[in-house]
């Protein structure tokens, strides 16, 4: 009978629908639960602060970064430099920032405590105290990195590319977690964006560090590109109205200015690189070649490659709130060419660049960034320790190998020479991101790279806002920080 058969079919549909409910519930809580829980809007966290003494926060070397006294007041590191350099990563206890205080409040405020611990505290008639936690960051290194940024805005992010442990996360300008009530009441004014963790959430124009993405796109979509030779004769010329590439045209008038009909894409210093391979173009950061590569790869494949590397998506890390970059190749050749050298509408975050460098260093595998080293129980037993976890295989073996070779070349003989450290094989890519067409504002200085070493597997990104050239400003800072990391 048909009706009976149909009803049986509906039975299957209902079973599928209810399974979908269960699976989706697990998925959505697994993927977003930690963020929703640590949301500043979650009143449960604020309510808990009134009844539970929040646990202490330590850095990886046991230096205390946050603690609660017996009255329930929260204190942060007494060393002002450390306090400010770790402000973003620690966050605050008033729910204004998304640092460890918010992200790990389930441990700090004892949401995760088992019934045994709770009963023990109840029997001893003690106020409930949350668990202490140890972070993966090194407070002294954060303070050192912060000092190198000077009075410039910017960020430094360093992670271990074998384990994902975040060693340094510092951001400037900063706030003082000890003065949150002053900020809230308006007694003390903070520079705009001081509470944003620029290392994880700062959205910047990448400039030439984006050539890492374009290089991967070329390796993926242009067969034999590594063996080809390219010719850089200076500027690429585009028709200003239509934005299409114009070949064999001299765009300059007698005085050396660009003709009104044309728009050009050239290197910052108008340099002409002559004939070079893909690797040489990468090492010398040749805009001409990378713009041509972007045009040859094409809009769709550029976008596809960028999205496979985490652009236009969403980072769902367990222990870090981070934004990813945005990539849109635009409509015209002109947009596409500029997007291939990290300008146009390209956006990246320092954490994303670090993940790309980390993948290049680690055979293409990006480890999930980890901030929580361990959680300590009431009897000083640590019941949760960091577990390295693969986040994503971003690069194929040949792509990682090419990038590693080329990035080593950048520091050895290219634009990143100033990042070199005696006795270490430092690799990287510089970037000088133009943020104004008039040239009145200094460009953002970028360096993203890693140490090619099993003993010191660190990936780093340095961004100095309006700092100047990547090779001259960011590269030396990166070198000094990496040297300091290895001394530890």
């Amino acid at each position: 009978m048909n009706t009976r058969r149909n009803i049986k079919g509906m039975l299957v549909v209902f079973i599928a629908l209810f399974l979908l409910l269960a699976v989706y519930l697990v998925y959505i809580i697994g993927a977003y639960g930690a963020y929703w829980f640590s949301s500043p809007y979650n009143t449960r966290v604020r309510e808990r602060q009134n009844t539970v003494l929040a646990g202490d926060i330590y850095d990886r070397n046991g230096i205390i970064l946050a603690y609660t006294d017996d009255d329930g007041s929260r204190f942060y590191s007494a060393d002002r430099d450390v306090r400010l350099a770790t402000a973003h990563v620690i966050g605050d206890n008033t729910g204004q920032t998304l640092g460890a205080e918010a992200l790990f409040s389930k441990y700090l405020l004892g949401f995760e405590q088992d019934i045994g611990a709770r009963l023990a505290q109840l029997l001893e008639n003690k106020q409930q105290k949350g668990a202490d936690i140890t972070l993966t960051v090194d407070a002294a290194l954060c303070a050192y990195a912060r000092s190198l940024l000077g009075d410039k805005s910017g960020a430094v992010f360093v992670m271990n590319y074998k384990t994902g442990e975040v060693l340094i996360n510092t951001s400037s300008p900063e706030f003082d977690p000890q003065r949150m009530t002053d900020y809230a009441s308006g007694n003390y004014n903070l520079a705009d964006g001081s509470m944003v963790n620029r290392a994880t959430m700062g959205r910047y124009t990448p400039g030439s560090v984006f050539k890492i993405v374009t290089a991967v796109a070329a390796l993926r979509h242009i067969p034999g590109v590594e063996e080809r030779s390219f010719h850089c004769d200076g500027a690429l010329v585009f028709d200003k109205k239509s934005g299409t590439l114009v070949e064999g045209m001299d765009p300059y008038d007698g005085d050396g200015n660009v003709n009104a009909e044309y728009a050009v894409l050239s290197d910052h210093d108008q340099s002409v690189h002559g004939t070079l391979t893909l690797q040489e173009a990468f090492i010398h950061s040749c805009n001409h070649v990378f713009a041509e590569l972007a045009l040859e790869v094409g809009k769709d494949n550029m976008k596809k490659t960028a999205e496979s590397l985490g652009f236009n998506g969403e980072y769902l890390f367990d222990e870090l709130v981070a934004y990813c970059g945005m990539y849109d190749p635009g409509e015209t050749d002109f947009n596409l060419a500029w997007s291939g050298v990290g300008q146009d509408t390209d956006i990246v975050t320092p954490v994303q660049m670090t993940l790309l460098a980390a993948a290049a260093a680690n055979d293409g595998i990006a480890m999930q960034p980890k901030l929580l080293k361990s959680v300590h129980g009431t009897e000083n037993t640590s019941y949760r320790t960091v577990q390295p976890e693969e986040y994503q295989t971003l690069l194929k073996g040949n792509e990682a190998a090419f990038l590693k070779r080329s990035m080593l070349g950048v520091v050895e003989s290219g634009t990143g020479k100033k990042a070199a450290v005696e006795g270490l094989s430092v690799a990287g890519k510089t970037g000088t991101a133009e943020i104004s067409s008039s040239g009145e504002i200094l460009p953002h200085a970028w360096f993203t790279g890693f140490i090619d070493s099993d003993a010191h597997p660190y990936a780093i990104t340095v961004i100095v806002e309006r700092g100047g050239g990547g090779g001259t400003v960011a590269a030396p800072i990166a070198g000094e920080i990496l040297a300091a990391c290895c001394k530890k």
Partner: protein, 434 residues
């Protein structure tokens, strides 16, 4: 055979009682001042369930015990949650549960002669439309929908009772006819009811009616073309209402990103999400969460409270329990002796299943949220009584199908479940006294 199933059911009933006892024991201490009366409440609940179970065994020996146990557990869970939130609402819910049980038995008895409901089909349809039209003028607004009516100071939600009427009207119309021309009065009824519900902004109920109608229509007629056409009409209607009504657009927008409008329209969903996330796998513990920060925590959003205090694992168990309920309901339909019984049983199961899916799906942000209750668990008399009426329909059909149906069910179970197969090697053994 009967003894075996009975013994198993008794074990499951014991589990329900243990849950109720432990929960109310905890509830004694859930507030600052101990509430020993919680144990009394739990005791009354246990006795009420036991009494209802015994009456069911006598009134309909072939009633589906598993289905009944699932309903008891869900209702008991609802009462535990209500008591945790407020002992007064829990008391009212207990009264509604009793009224629901009475309704269930009345339906069960009436279902012995389906002719009565078939005869009542047209009057029920007329009354349903009459009430819904009246609501447009005298209805009270609550939660954005104008779907309440006050009779003698007691608030009713008539759309809940229209749902029950719909089950009979659909089954009656399609028992004898499957040609579209002959079904025009039914189409008219469903169309008018849906339009009226949309006008009252009771989108959840409208969605339920249309959904159940489509399921029963397709099951009864196998008319794929008409079903697809109806879905298309529904889609056009949904599209039109999206553009016509601001509140529909707002619903979709807050579904996509409740955090963007946290302080206004996204508040409820965001609060629900935070509550669920706070519970984690094992929950914060009964009485340990802050569910009252979620709007409609004791009605539409009770699933978020379950997630917060009992945890995701328990919430999944609740979903599985609802699935069990729907599966048993559909098995009852499949084993029904006549077409009218089959279609009513399927309609009732489909309604319960859809309602559960729509509200849980809305709370966990799988689909846009529409304000409807979670069967048996949410606070609300109309909802409780209507859902119990649907259970009464199912138990009535199951009871009528008699011993022969039991045998068929057992055969299916042996196919499905290997562990049972080992106890009962084949269907012929069912008569043995195990």
């Amino acid at each position: 055979m009967f003894k075996l199933r009975h013994a198993k059911a008794a074990g499951a009933l014991g589990t329900v009682f243990l849950f109720v006892f432990l929960a109310f024991a905890l509830l004694v201490f859930s507030e600052d001042v101990p509430r020993p009366e919680a144990l009394l409440f739990g005791g009354i609940l246990i006795l009420l369930i036991l009494l209802a179970y015994c009456i069911l065994l006598i009134a309909a020996p072939h009633a589906d015990k598993l289905l009944m146990l699932a309903v008891f557990f869900l209702s008991a869970l609802g009462m535990v949650l209500q008591y945790r939130l407020s002992s007064e609402t829990a008391l009212r819910q207990l009264m509604m549960f009793s009224a629901g049980l009475v309704t269930m038995f009345v339906m069960l008895l009436f279902m012995r002669s389906p002719r009565f409901f078939r005869f009542m089909s047209i009057p029920m349809g007329v009354i349903s439309i009459g009430i819904l039209v009246a609501l447009l003028f005298i209805g009270k607004e609550s939660g954005g929908a104008k779907n309440w009516i006050s009779i003698g100071g007691i608030l009713f939600q008539p759309s809940e009772f229209v749902k029950v009427a719909l089950v009979f009207i659909l089954a009656d119309a399609m028992s004898d006819h499957t040609h579209l021309n002959e079904l025009i009065p039914m189409f008219l009824f469903v169309g008018i009811v849906t339009v009226l519900l949309v006008l009252q902004r009771d989108l959840g109920a409208a969605m339920l009616m249309i959904g159940s109608f489509l399921l029963v229509f397709f099951a009864a007629t196998s008319n794929i073309r008409a079903t697809v056409t109806a879905i298309l009409i529904g889609a056009v209607g949904a599209f039109a209402s999206y553009h016509l009504f601001d509140h529909v657009q707002a619903r979709v927008a807050i579904w996509q990103d409740p955090w963007a409008t946290y302080s206004t329209s996204g508040y409820q969903i965001a609060q629900g999400l935070m509550a669920m996330a706070s519970g984690g796998l094992w929950g914060l513990g009964l009485g340990q969460g802050s569910p009252k920060s979620i709007p409609a925590y004791h009605t539409d959003y009770v699933f978020a409270v379950i997630c917060e205090e009992f945890g995701i694992l328990f919430a999944i168990a609740v979903i599985v329990l609802y699935l069990l309920l729907v599966v048993r309901g559909i098995l009852i339909a499949l084993n029904a002796k006549d077409r009218f019984s089959m279609l009513t049983a399927f309609g009732a199961s489909a309604l319960l299943g859809m309602q559960t899916f729509v509200i849980i799906g809305g709370v966990i942000k799988l689909i846009p949220l529409t304000g409807i209750t979670m069967p048996f668990v949410s606070y609300g008399g109309s909802s409780m009584i209507a859902c119990m009426a649907l259970v009464g329909i199912l138990q009535g059909v199951a009871g009528r199908s008699g011993a022969a149906v039991d045998a068929e069910l057992l055969a299916m179970e042996t196919e499905d479940e290997e562990d049972r197969g080992s106890e009962l090697p084949d269907a012929e053994n069912e008569g043995d006294d195990l």
